[in-house]
Amino acid sequence: MVKGEAMLQDYLPVLMQILIASGFAAVTLAVSVLLGKSGKRNAIKDSAYECGMLPIGDMQPRFSVKFYMVAMLFVLFDIEVVFMFPWAVTFKDLVLHSTTAFWSMAGFAFVLLVAYVYALKKGALKWND
């Protein structure tokens, strides 16, 4: 096999991912047109929803602190996952030498778990109060 071919083969999963992603979007859109009750317009339907604000009001609206809490926790836990990727990639090799790699990640995940329980208990993720 030539070198270039082997490299292209590596990208096969990426191609499949692209196909699945666009296929999923197309199917979802098609199904919502087929099954959805279109045509009955009213004021609520025409307003911004899910990720928008009503375009009328103060120039600098005040956001509830809840949004910031969720955003901050999301970023924190997101970054923790980033640390797990390089670990996961090298884990197979590292674990042959010693169990340190396993226990250090177990410790890391344990600290995260405690942090998560703390955030839950303190009501950082509670939306109604």
Partner: protein
């Protein structure tokens, strides 16, 4: 038990405290502080009985357990415990400034976060790799951002937090940039390997000096030396008083162990030692001058202690710059450790008195000390001992520290910096002892104020610190042995 189990134990203690704080019902969270004290005390005792011999694993290229590291671990643990005791006295103020409208205060975490800071400082004491230095330093700094702003209904605390955050982030940038240059010229992250590489004569000196300057600026922020000393008075004044004490002692000590280790690398290189020493001496002289002269006109005791903290940083940098000879058989790193242990005792004694004054009068002004002798002769005496030791009066522990620094400077024939140090010490006698006039001679403004009552724990802590200041000022051996381990 291997030595790194100390840090693991402290982190586990912090996690347990966090869970206790969250799950145990009731508004009174004092038990969190008491548990923290017990746990940290156990670790402090344990730190004298751990196995310090390194094994073959790669872990030991990030971690050092020499005598200096163990001394700084003990300093970190002792300092954290004393800060928690101060915090217990400070609860009424915390309650007032953390309460929701018409609700209770939330100060349980005030006793959890210092435990994590302590773990970070213990790692800093052992860090011997650029990466482990950076990670442990950030653990300390990020937790401090939260602690400085802890009183969220107090504008001063918020302002202090913003200033600390912005300058802290800036100095971190300097640190990382310096590290990248150091890595760029040597291709290594372990400090011992870097030192060997810098000494081999194959390294370009100009980029190495550049990295030295950048790292020194960042470390100057941590230890409160010129050129990044501006934040100290404002942040110290705004932060909750126990946290001010923690910044002033714990954070500074942790900064100095990292400074000692990094300077060993640069000062050990023949090509760099000349220029590096010149820069360090300039920093030491400027810090001594700024700290001591700016302290003279202060009327707020907290700001006065802030400038005092800058001036002590000047003495410590001078000790490091004085070269490898040291004094009285102590290496420069050991002199710094000795000075910091002495500084811990006397500074926390002064802050412990300030916490009580602040709680009873709501003010940190020198005028708040008026008539303290009538209100509580014991407190007045405690502060008398503290300021005498800070000024360096003989027969106190502060005197021994200053003596070691001066001896090291004389041995290295640094006459000009010695002149600055003498000016600083003389100015210190004026501004430290200024508070005595308020305590013993000035009458309180609103007639006679009620006497101050102290809790048993506070009294015991004050007595312990007074005894340590006086006894260790006469009988030097215990501290000498501690830093020589």
């Amino acid at each position: 038990m291997p030595v790194y189990s100390l840090e693991v134990a402290v982190v586990l203690l912090g996690l347990v405290l966090l869970m206790m704080e969250a799950f145990v019902a009731g508004k009174d969270k004092r038990f969190v502080a008491h548990t923290a004290l017990l746990g940290l005390g156990a670790v402090l005792v344990g730190s004298f009985f751990v196995d310090r011999t390194p094994d073959a694993s790669g872990f030991w290229s990030f971690y050092k357990a020499d005598g200096l590291a163990m001394t700084y671990k003990a300093i970190a643990l002792a300092c954290t415990m004393l800060v928690i005791v101060l915090g217990l006295d400070y609860i009424p103020v915390l309650e007032k400034f953390t309460a929701r409208v018409g609700g209770h205060g939330a100060w349980g975490e005030f006793f959890c976060l210092p435990v994590f800071i302590c773990a970070g400082m213990m790692w800093m004491a052992s860090a011997s790799d650029l990466t482990s230095i950076f990670v442990s330093l950030e653990l300390v700094t990020i937790a401090f951002y939260v602690m400085v702003t802890f009183m969220r209904r107090n504008v001063g605390s918020l302002e202090a937090g913003v200033k600390y955050l912005i300058l802290g982030a800036l100095s971190t940038g300097f640190l990382v940039y310096g590290f990248t240059w150091l890595f760029g010229v040597t291709g290594q992250t372990n400090l011992d390997v870097i030192a060997a590489k810098l000494n081999s004569g194959t390294v370009a000196t100009v980029p190495a000096m550049f990295s030295f300057a950048l790292i020194l600026v960042a470390l100057a922020f941590k230890i409160g030396a010129v050129p990044l000393q501006f934040w100290i008075p404002d942040v110290y004044q705004g932060a909750p008083t126990p946290i001010t004490a923690y910044l002033s002692v714990g954070s500074k000590a942790a900064g100095f162990i990292v400074t000692t280790r990094i300077l060993q690398v640069f000062l050990g290189s023949e090509a760099l030692v000349h220029n590096c020493t010149a820069i360090l001496l300039a920093v030491a002289c400027a810090t001594l001058l700024v700290g001591n002269l700016a302290a003279i006109p202060q009327t707020n005791f907290k700001r006065l202690l802030a400038y005092s903290s800058i001036s002590h940083a000047g003495f410590l940098v001078l000790a490091l710059a004085a070269g490898p000879a040291g004094a009285f058989g102590l290496a420069p790193g050991q002199i710094v450790a000795y000075y910091l242990a002495a500084y811990l005792i006397m500074t926390l004694l002064a802050f412990a008195v300030l916490v009580v004054i602040n709680r009873t009068s709501g003010s940190d002004d020198l005028n708040a000390f008026n008539g303290l002798h009538q209100r509580s002769p014991f407190l007045a005496f405690a502060l008398l001992v503290a300021v005498a030791s800070l000024a360096g009066v003989p027969l106190t522990v502060g005197f021994v520290g200053k003596l070691l620094v001066f001896a090291a400077a004389v041995k290295a024939s640094l006459w000009l910096p010695l002149g600055f140090a003498i000016i600083g010490a003389v100015a210190g006698f004026y501004y430290y002892l200024k508070v005595l006039r308020n305590m013993y001679w000035n009458a309180p403004a609103g007639g006679t104020l009620p006497a101050i009552t102290l809790s048993g724990l506070t009294k015991a802590t004050l007595l312990l610190l007074i005894a340590a200041t006086v006894v260790l000022g006469v009988w030097w051996a215990p501290l000498f042995q501690l830093v020589r381990r």
